[in-house]
Structure formats: structure tokens, C-alpha cells
């Protein structure tokens, strides 16, 4: 099942039952910077705003995640060599040893390693990891502004060629 653009406006999977989300998503022994960056918004607000952004653009989250995951996988298979993922955009994978758990309890661990997607003309870039893709997919959580693994939904959709 894929989300329709309208569905992006619906509340994402409930995480608000977890106490003190800001603490859960802050720096920890697994994540030096945490997942919120310098964003003063509450996590639910970040998720809601990003869902609205996608809804306004008419992009459903599953489609964006699918495009990002394909870029991640293709770059990983290139073993560190740059690949083209869309018009004007390249991706490079950086392997790393170990796993990182989801910040949310009972959600398992994810391989480390990241793929950096860069737009050649503007120099804009962002990173995706197995965990960041999972958080977007499962929770609609693109991370707070200033987080090293924040994915701006509109920028990502544009760089992946989903919107003009």
C-alpha cells in the first residue's frame, strides 16, 4: 500500500505515546548529535510540518522513500565510486562498521554507512542512512533542522527528480 498525497496530511504513526520524545531523540551513546539538530520544534510538529510539505507538493512519502532507498542501494553497490541518481545529482556511499539502533524502543538495529546525494550545480547535498530511511518510512520523521541526517522533503523530492 502506498500513501496518497492526502494521506501525508494524516498523523504519522503514533510515537507520541513515548515519553519525552525530545530526550529520546537527543544525543546518545549511539548518536553523537541526536536526531533533532538545533530545531526548537517538538518532534510531532516536525513530522506534521514535513507531512504538510509533502502533501502540498503532491508527493507521497512512500514514493520518496522508495527513490531514496534505490539511490542508497545503487551507491552502496558502487563501492564508494560516485554514481548518477537523477539529472544533475550524484551519490557516493561511505561504508562503516557496526549497527545503530532506532531511537525508538523495540525497533531493532540498522547498518551504519551513509550515502551522500549531491546536486552538482548548486552543491546542495544531504545524507541518507538505513536508519534515516526507516524513520522517514515508519514514522514520517525527517529529523530536525540541523541534524546531520535531516532530509528536507522538498529538496529531496526535487533532487530525486520527483518534482520539477
Amino acid at each position: 500500500m502506498t500513501n496518497s498525497p492526502e494521506s501525508n496530511k494524516q498523523p504519522v504513526q503514533a510515537v507520541s505515546d513515548q515519553r519525552d520524545l525530545r530526550k529520546i531523540l537527543g544525543p546518545s551513546r549511539f548518536s553523537a548529535e541526536g536526531f533533532l539538530g538545533a530545531d526548537p520544534r517538538q518532534p510531532e510538529e516536525i513530522m506534521s510540518d514535513d507531512a504538510n510539505t509533502l502533501g502540498t507538493l503532491g508527493i507521497d512519502r512512500a514514493r520518496l522513500v522508495d527513490a531514496l532507498r534505490k539511490a542508497y542501494d545503487a551507491a552502496e553497490q558502487a563501492l564508494g565510486a560516485p554514481i548518477t541518481v537523477s539529472a544533475g545529482c550524484s551519490a557516493v556511499h561511505y561504508g562503516a562498521r557496526g549497527k545503530i539502533p532506532s531511537p525508538f524502543a523495540n525497533e531493532g538495529t540498522f547498518a551504519k554507512g551513509e550515502t551522500v546525494i549531491t546536486h552538482a550545480a548548486s552543491g546542495a547535498s544531504f545524507s541518507v542512512t538505513p536508519l534515516s530511511l526507516y524513520l522517514i518510512d515508519k514514522h514520517g520523521f525527517f529529523q530536525g533542522k540541523g541534524s546531520p541526517y535531516r532530509v528536507e522533503p522538498d529538496v529531496a523530492a526535487k533532487m530525486m527528480g520527483l518534482i520539477k
Binding site: A32, A81, N106, G113
Partner: protein
């Protein structure tokens, strides 16, 4: 006068090889550690890392909800549990890899810290207590960082890059990772003369005792266990055919090349083949070019008589397994240390 003793439960480890007694409700992870059996763990017992899996063979209770995301269905069916979440209230029997019995905690001192490339650090740790370490070439240790800049101490795994004969310490290769808590500490804070703690050795990656030709493929710091194995094979006067492929992007990512080429004159039938996938044509590189998988396929189109030893990122390992099996090597003969 008699004093009442606190009740304890018995934990039988590996069919009576070791029996410990712990207070009921104590986690297996903590109970084992208190009795000198150090199970790997990176989260300190919070059901987050999934490193402390043990097989419960007697007295098992179902896994807790917190364990389920970290255990596969086959592991659950086989009785695997997270030691940090298993708190026996009755006698229990568990099975762990035999090599864990030789795991110890070590303290050491950084006696050498050098950059071997722009993003890879070489560390030499000389042991202070105990003074020597026994391990098998290919194994890894779990090192502990110190708290810094508000960040907690963390545990991370690193393959030993030195041979077992060099038992007074260990060499490590550490690649800087963006936002990596341990690697930033190692690169930016740790200095020569500092103390460091680690436990080990861990892992089953090692050279077999067979006489089969060996095909080694590694990338980046995946060279560490391969270097340990090769140096160990030199000491053992190994005469097996060995082909060692080292994949990198460009010349600036290569290291220890001269040292490894020298082994071609020491080992009976050894070739070291570095290969670059993104080196500019103008760079003067005359060696192999292309993805390491392509280079292996080109040089060893029929792998069927080899045993393979792989160490690197999950992407590299998966790609190599695919190519090697296509080239006739059964997966059972592919040994790997995946960075995950």
C-alpha cells in the same frame, strides 16, 4: 552464629564447561561478566545493540517484547535470547561460542598514533594489565572511548591488525566516520601516552587449517584482519597459494601497499593486488583499475578451488559473495567479516 545466604540460581554454560551462580533476577549479561565471562555488548545492557545473544538450552522463558526486534524468527526458534534481558529466577543452561571463554578485559596505553591515510588512523596499544593477549589472527576487540565534550563513553569493535605473535599489544586501524563518537574521540582527543580499555578477543573470522588456495578481498580498514592473518601465515611458513585484492577509490586511499608487496618475496605463492575504482587516468597509476569485484573476476575467473576471506563494508561483502559464487566458489567456502 549462622548467617542466611542469599539464594542463587545456577547458570550452566556450554554443557558444564563453566557453572556460575547468580542472584535470581540478575541479567545473564551482568552475571556472566561478574564471573569473568564477557559477552559482547555495545549498549550496556539496554536491549539496543543486540550483541549479547546467547542460546538458552534449558530453563528458557519466551523472549521479552524488547528483544523481538533484535532476534530473527530462526533465532527465536533456536532459543536465542539477549543476555541483557534474560533474568533467570531458576536454574538455566546456555550455550555461547567457546572463544568467549578466552575473552578478557585489558587496559593499555597508546604508544603510537599515526595517520596512515587522510582518514585512517593507525593505533598501537601496548598492554599494561594484563601484559599479554592471546588471540587468533582475524579476531577483533571491543574498545571503549572516554567521555568527551559531553558525549558518553562508547564501545566499538575493531579488528586487530597485528599478528598473534606480537602479544604485548595490538595494532588497530580506525577510519574516521562522519559524526562517529568513537572515531572523533580517537582522531581528535586521544593522544600518545593515554590509557585505553578494551575487551577481547572476539569473532570467528580466521584462516582455515586447510591447504586450499586463499582468495582475500578487502577494502579500507578491512585490511586489518587480513594483515594479521598474512603476518601469522608468514610466521607459520605457509606455502598456500594466496591472492590478496585490496580495493580503494584512488591512490590517496591506499596504505601499507609496500609492506604487503614485500610479502610476495616472503610467502611461497603470494600476490598482492591493489585496485583503484576512481583514480584519474592522469594519476600515473599502472596497477589494476575497476571495482574490486570486477578485478577479482578478471584475475580469477574460476574460483572453485579457492577459499575466500572477505573483510569490508556490507556492500562490498555482498557484491563479492555474488561474484565469487558466480565464479564457481560455494558460499560455504566464503569466510567474511562484515562491518555490521
Amino acid at each position: 552464629m549462622e548467617t542466611a545466604q542469599a539464594p542463587t540460581v545456577a547458570i550452566d554454560i556450554n554443557g558444564g564447561k563453566k557453572i556460575i551462580r547468580v542472584k535470581p533476577g540478575t541479567s545473564l549479561l551482568a552475571g556472566c561478566a561478574r564471573n569473568g565471562l564477557f559477552l559482547p555488548s555495545a549498549c550496556g545492557g539496554n536491549a539496543r545493540c543486540g550483541y549479547c545473544k546467547v542460546k538458552v538450552v534449558g530453563g528458557a522463558t519466551p523472549p521479552l517484547a524488547a528483544e523481538l526486534p533484535l532476534l530473527s524468527e530462526s533465532e527465536i526458534a533456536a532459543g536465542m535470547r539477549l543476555a541483557c534481558q534474560t533474568k533467570p529466577v531458576g536454574d538455566l543452561a546456555i550455550a555461547v561460542p567457546d572463544e568467549l571463554f578466552s575473552v578478557k578485559r585489558f587496559s593499555g596505553k597508546i604508544v603510537r598514533k599515526t595517520l596512515v591515510t587522510y582518514d585512517i588512523l593507525g593505533l598501537r596499544i601496548e598492554l599494561t594489565n594484563p601484559k599479554t593477549i592471546e588471540f587468533t589472527a582475524g579476531q577483533y576487540i571491543q574498545a571503549r572511548s572516554a567521555p568527551y565534550l559531553g558525549k558518553d563513553a562508547v564501545l566499538r569493535d575493531f579488528s586487530i591488525a597485528s599478528p598473534p605473535s606480537d602479544s604485548s599489544g595490538v595494532d588497530l586501524l580506525i577510519r574516521r566516520t562522519k559524526n562517529g563518537i568513537f572515531t572523533q574521540w580517537a582522531f581528535d582527543v586521544l593522544k600518545e601516552g593515554d590509557a585505553i580499555l578494551f575487551s577481547g578477543p572476539y569473532g570467528a573470522f580466521r584462516a582455515s587449517e586447510s591447504a586450499a588456495p586463499m582468495l582475500m578481498v578487502c577494502g579500507s580498514t578491512g585490511l586489518a584482519p587480513i594483515r594479521s592473518i598474512l603476518q601469522d601465515l608468514v610466521r607459520k611458513k605457509c606455502n598456500r597459494t594466496i591472492r590478496c585484492f585490496f580495493g580503494a577509490l584512488s591512490q590517496k586511499d591506499l596504505f601499507m601497499v609496500e609492506e604487503l608487496h614485500k610479502l610476495e618475496t616472503v610467502l611461497a605463492d603470494f600476490r598482492f593486488i591493489p585496485a583503484l575504482s576512481s583514480e584519474p587516468e592522469s594519476g600515473g597509476w599502472t596497477g589494476e583499475r575497476g571495482l574490486i569485484t570486477e578485478v577479482v573476476r578478471r584475475n580469477v575467473p574460476d574460483c572453485s578451488r579457492f577459499e575466500a576471506y572477505l573483510c569490508g563494508s556490507p556492500g562490498m561483502i555482498n557484491a563479492c559473495i555474488a561474484v565469487l559464487t558466480q565464479c564457481g566458489l560455494p558460499e560455504a567456502k566464503i569466510h567474511y567479516d562484515k562491518f555490521a
